[in-house]
């Protein structure tokens, strides 16, 4: 199908998409990089018109040496790691359960998938108020019914709360992906293993798990990329307080709240580099799949 005519047509047809995405990638990015080398605090009177002072790598240094930096990295690791662990492990178990013969499997799938489609602001606020509120929330009532003092989720156990909220949202995604992977598994392999005398647990460890390996890797990589940029959930629940300031939120605060554009931009560059590292791994797997 590849003639000169169709090839030039193809180039023409790809042009809008490529141009737009190229612009989307380069324009804001180069601006961020530009700002990262400047001192720019609009609230303190800096402005474009007056020209911005070049500060070299000072912002970059300041960002990682600020007292908020390492805690934010730690927070990010804990939250992302926590959600990954919960969603992957529970996801595997849930996917295996859903693969079993039962009645009403379709309906159960609908129930399990639902949280993923709830918008993050609703999800966070509902958890914060309807469930976690220590006076009127559902969990508070239940705790009291058992004679215990209600937990102050968001103010005391803030990270756990966030991890709980975000895991609830992403468990369906992991489950769905892993379920798809399990269902694509050749049942004959399992039959052969059973004939060879393998117990259910042995079959799981030696046959199911390796087959799922690829899907688990995908789930981890994709979720990591999205989890690194969680925003709304933190914004509407703690606003970054109580130690829930992730790297993303820290950058957000620097840029939009304290309006230190230069500093925030440097932070943004760090975040972009970090995300790209994860993306490289993901793209390699996707790329291998495209060849297939």
């Amino acid at each position: 199908m590849a003639t000169q005519h169709s090839r030039s047509a193809a180039r023409f047809m790809m042009a809008p998409a490529v141009t737009l995405l190229l612009g989307w990638m380069l324009v804001p990015l180069s601006m961020t990089i530009f700002f990262s080398f400047k001192k720019y605090l609009p609230l303190r009177g800096d402005s474009f018109e007056q020209g911005l002072e070049w500060v070299g790598f000072a912002n970059y240094v300041r960002f990682v040496t600020s007292s908020a930096f390492w805690p934010s990295v730690l927070t990010t690791l804990i939250i992302v790691g926590g959600v990954l662990v919960i969603t992957v492990i529970l996801g595997i178990l849930l996917a295996m359960l859903l693969d079993q013969p039962m009645w009403g499997q379709g309906m159960v799938r609908v129930l399990v998938i639902a949280p993923f489609f709830v918008m993050p602001t609703v999800s966070a606020l509902v958890w914060k108020n309807l469930f976690m509120d220590s006076v009127n929330g559902f969990m508070a009532h239940v705790w009291r019914a058992f004679g215990a003092t209600p937990v102050e989720w968001l103010s005391r156990e803030s990270m756990q709360s966030l991890i709980m909220i975000v895991s609830w949202q992403w468990l369906p995604f992991a489950t769905l992906i892993l379920l798809t992977a399990i269902q694509s598994m050749d049942s004959e392999q399992l039959d052969a293993a059973e004939m060879d005398g393998a117990s259910p647990i042995a079959r799981f460890i030696h046959i199911v798990l390796p087959h799922l390996g690829r899907a688990i890797t995908i789930v981890i990589l994709i979720q990591t990329i999205f989890l690194l940029s969680i925003f709304a959930e933190i914004f509407v629940t703690t606003g970054g307080a109580f130690g829930t300031k992730t790297l993303t939120y820290l950058i957000f605060q620097r840029v939009l709240e304290s309006q230190n554009i230069g500093l925030g931009s440097a932070g943004g560059v760090y975040a972009i580099i970090l995300a790209n590292i994860v993306a490289i791994f993901l793209m390699r797997i996707v790329g291998k799949n495209l060849d297939a």
């Binding site: 998409a17 990638m25 804001p28 859903l98 013969p101 009403g104 129930l111 309807l130």
Partner: protein, 276 residues
């Protein structure tokens, strides 16, 4: 894997699965329950809530006072607008990649997917500045453009996979039959790809509806979609559980329904084909 499964096993599986499913779904259920309560009732114990009286009161209050439908309409416009725009740009691009592949096609596709990995916060301020300069801040148009850009990779990716399933020969036959490129796409490709295009639209409308970074940071009173509207409940005055529940139910109901239909598309679209 269902070889001679005992009914007993099936009962256990069913019970376990339903229990877990209901547990996971419970918060959504609870939102719906509370939406039919008065504010005074909404803060009582669960038992009292379930046995108390039900009312539409909160729905009415939300609609009257807070201009709810304006935000609902914003969500609709932005979600559909960005998706349709994305499809218009994406169909030609996916056509080229699926039917006239070159050595660079795979790399270009991967590059496009990688633009989705760009952390939004990294370009927040430039976007903010650009929007002010272009007069796009707090406009639906501005959000349509941004959401189109962030979903374009997924749109193109999904269309590409659907197009690849169409035999090239049918398009070649159209070409031999004298169809120009435009006619080939209009009369032959698109009708055959309708299910794929519909799936793509479905998934991306959902993703755009739920997007909660740009919609929160680039809008204010005029163009705020439901995501931002609900976020305003984070610092409310007075009792608000029932209103929050009513507003939330209305905000998530359309997407829950659409989402039910889009499970397969979700897997295809968001794992970039790495899981089949």
């Amino acid at each position: 894997m269902a070889r001679g499964v005992t009914t007993q096993r099936k009962i256990i599986n069913t019970a376990a699965a339903w229990a877990i499913g209901l547990l996971i779904f419970f918060p959504i259920l609870w939102i719906i329950v509370l939406s039919f309560k008065t504010e005074a009732d909404a803060i009582k114990t669960p038992f009292e809530i379930l046995t108390g009286s039900w009312t539409f009161e909160s729905y009415l209050v939300v609609q009257e006072r807070s201009d709810y439908f304006k935000h609902f309409w914003n969500s609709v416009t932005i979600a559909f607008g960005s998706t349709i725009l994305g499809v218009l740009i994406g169909v030609p691009a996916a056509w080229s990649m699926a039917f006239v592949p070159s050595k660079r096609t795979k790399d270009i596709l991967l590059w496009m997917l990688s633009t989705k990995m760009l952390p939004a916060v990294g370009v927040l301020y430039p976007m903010y500045l650009l929007f002010i300069q272009l007069g796009l801040l707090d406009t639906r148009t501005g959000l349509v453009i941004v959401l189109m850009l962030i979903n374009l990779p997924i749109i193109i990716w999904m269309l590409y996979t659907y197009f690849r399933e169409i035999p090239v020969e049918i398009l070649e036959a159209a070409r031999m039959d004298g169809a120009s490129l435009g006619k080939e796409i209009m009369y032959v490709l698109t009708p055959m790809a309708v299910p794929g295009i519909a799936s793509t639209v479905l998934l991306n409308v959902i993703l755009a509806w739920n997007e909660a970074f740009w919609t929160l940071n680039l809008t204010a009173a005029k163009a705020a979609p439901l995501t931002a509207f609900i976020a305003s409940y984070s610092s409310p005055e007075g009792l608000f559980y029932a209103k929050l529940s009513a507003a939330s139910t209305m905000a998530i109901a359309p997407i829950l329904i659409l989402g039910w239909f889009s499970q397969k598309q979700l897997v295809r679209g968001l794992t970039f084909g790495a899981v089949k």
